[in-house]
């Protein structure tokens, strides 16, 4: 069974990746996951300077999901390159670094820095972190999305993935802007903004008041957005949002995702990626296909 897929210029041994912010810097997950078997690793978002992140409480559990407002707690890009890339890049899988800029200028400068780092195979732009106070969302206006991505594209020879927010009225125009900016693929979707309230105390539960909703609860929304973009925009898609089982993986592939990222499932079922990889070949074969590529985007639309 040929499990390989391609995201523009980035080739992957298989379509199962782990999502940024849900897998630490991979070392933490090594007891549960044979890292070399993954299609790729997207470590936690890095920023230009260290960030302490938001005050706790940073998470709330919701019905089949959770809200988080971590606030990009990280030690900055220099620390990432020095301390995490050496480990990440020797795991025998693709390393897709994830970056977030506070300004439009910061994105290309982060990308240019990573361009020089051997072992970083691709760069995912976190255009849509909902948890940075005062932060601007770079993926809610098509012209801003296109401009930021183009500047990043021009700053590196490495493949670029654009992670988009679902908190928009028209995902198609944003995805098309990402394509025009030069992204190799779009990652759909980041979390949905929500909140939780302790009514007895009349207070929001999260210190940041709002957070990003993830987990099985958001899967239908992610699946729909992947399906819509796959039909209308000529760009490879990485599907993410609530994927918890191999059935979920297959649904995203059929809907048009060339690869998927596992996110919240890493929290509540740490070794799930390995079981999905065990079972993927059989599921693909059950469709009469001999490669993953054959099944991508084969959804039959009702007449």
């Amino acid at each position: 069974m040929d499990l390989s897929v391609a995201l523009g210029r980035l080739s992957l041994a298989n379509p199962i990746l782990v999502a940024s912010g849900t897998f630490g810097y991979a070392k933490e997950a090594a007891p549960f996951v044979d890292l070399g078997r993954l299609g790729g690793i997207v470590p936690k978002t890095v920023t230009s300077l260290p960030r302490a992140g938001n005050r706790p409480p940073r998470i709330v559990e919701t019905a089949s999901g959770m809200l988080n407002s971590i606030g990009l707690d990280n030690d900055g890009i220099d620390h990432f390159i020095e301390h995490h890339v050496p480990y990440l890049s020797r795991q025998g899988t693709r390393l897709i670094a994830n970056v977030a800029g506070k300004t439009e200028d910061e994105f290309p400068s982060l990308v240019a820095k990573l361009d020089l780092v051997a072992g970083v195979d691709a760069i995912e732009l976190n255009l849509s972190c909902p948890n940075v106070s005062g932060g601007i969302d770079f993926a809610t206006k098509p012209e801003v999305t296109e401009r930021v991505i183009r500047r990043c594209y021009e700053s590196t020879g490495k493949p670029i993935l654009a992670k988009l927010t679902p908190n928009v009225t028209d995902i198609l125009s944003i995805a098309d802007a990402a394509r025009q900016g030069g992204a190799d693929a779009v990652t759909l979707i980041n979390t949905l903004v929500g909140t939780a309230i302790d009514w007895r105390k009349r207070r929001p539960i999260l210190s940041n008041v709002v957070g990003g909703l993830s987990g099985p609860a958001i899967k239908p929304i992610a699946l729909r957005m992947v399906m819509m973009v796959a039909r209308k925009v000529a760009i490879p898609i990485v599907g993410v949002g609530g994927i918890s089982t191999l059935d979920d993986v297959m649904e995203f592939l059929i809907a048009g995702a060339s690869a998927v990222q596992l996110g919240t499932v890493n929290f509540f079922d740490p070794s799930s990626s390995m079981r999905m990889l065990d079972d993927l070949p059989t599921a693909v074969a059950s469709l009469g296909a001999s490669s993953v590529q054959e099944v991508i985007g084969t959804l039959e639309w009702p007449r």
Binding site: G21, T22, F23, G24, E28, A29, P31, F32, K44, P50, A52, G53, R55, P56, P57, R58, I59, V60, E61, T62, A63, S64, G65, M66, N68, I70, D73, S207, G215, P216, S244, T264, N266, F267, F268, D269, P270, S271
Partner: protein, 288 residues
Amino acid sequence: MVLQSTATVLSNEMLGETIFKIRVEQPAIAREILPGQFAMLRPHGRTDPLLGRPLAMYDVGRSDSGEPTSIDFVYLVQGNGTRALASLGPGDRVDLWGPLGNSFPRHPSNDLKRVLLLAGGIGQTPFLSVAKDLLGQQTYGAPANRQAGETSVSFIWGVRTKSLLAGLNDFQTLGIECHVATDDGSAGHHGRVTDLARQLIERGPRPTAIFSCGPEPMLVAVARLGQECQVPTWVSLETRMACGYGVCFSCVCPVKDSSPAGWDYSRVCLEGPIFRSTAIEWNEIVHQ
């Protein structure tokens, strides 16, 4: 070795009004888990509630030949997750992963001559195994090379009201000094556990170490007590966790460092849950 497993519930008994003890069959984790460490538990095969719950190892169950086979966890039912756990019975399955986090100090040293265990609320759960380990009554993980009699242990437990003292007998049968405090005066000292601890410390003999686990306001008071009485103090923190193994960055607490701010967030699940009380930037917690 840290591992994830789907395991069978052997028993799940009610110890008190809202307090349960669940026994889960998992020899590999039972062989390695140390006093103060925890595991994440969730009912198998459902997504609501979604996340595992971090529960301290209460004790390890053994076969007739003394081989570790199962792990006991004592928990207070206080929300969706613990309510779901309480609904499980023998034969039901749970997903669990562990052992996680660090342990309390356990190798013989001058610090461990007279250890005061100071629990608040449901914070007694790590201390049964801590006491057995220190006293040499039971071995957890690799043997700690300790001779019986080197360490004396006393235990002070504060709760809101008497009915929450579920499992007190487990501690009393160890033959250690046990004291209780209740907010409502229904048992033992009427008042705060830290006030009782201060009285006992002043009366002497002074402990050489304090190990504490309980609600945050209590730990703030314990840290102050340890400082004022000049007794090295370790605290086990309980924070909201999603993963329990360091990937989500939810469970952080402020730990002092050399950065300009003087502290940075550390993951309680990885760097903790047990910290020297002097390592924590308590002012930052108090202002949350």
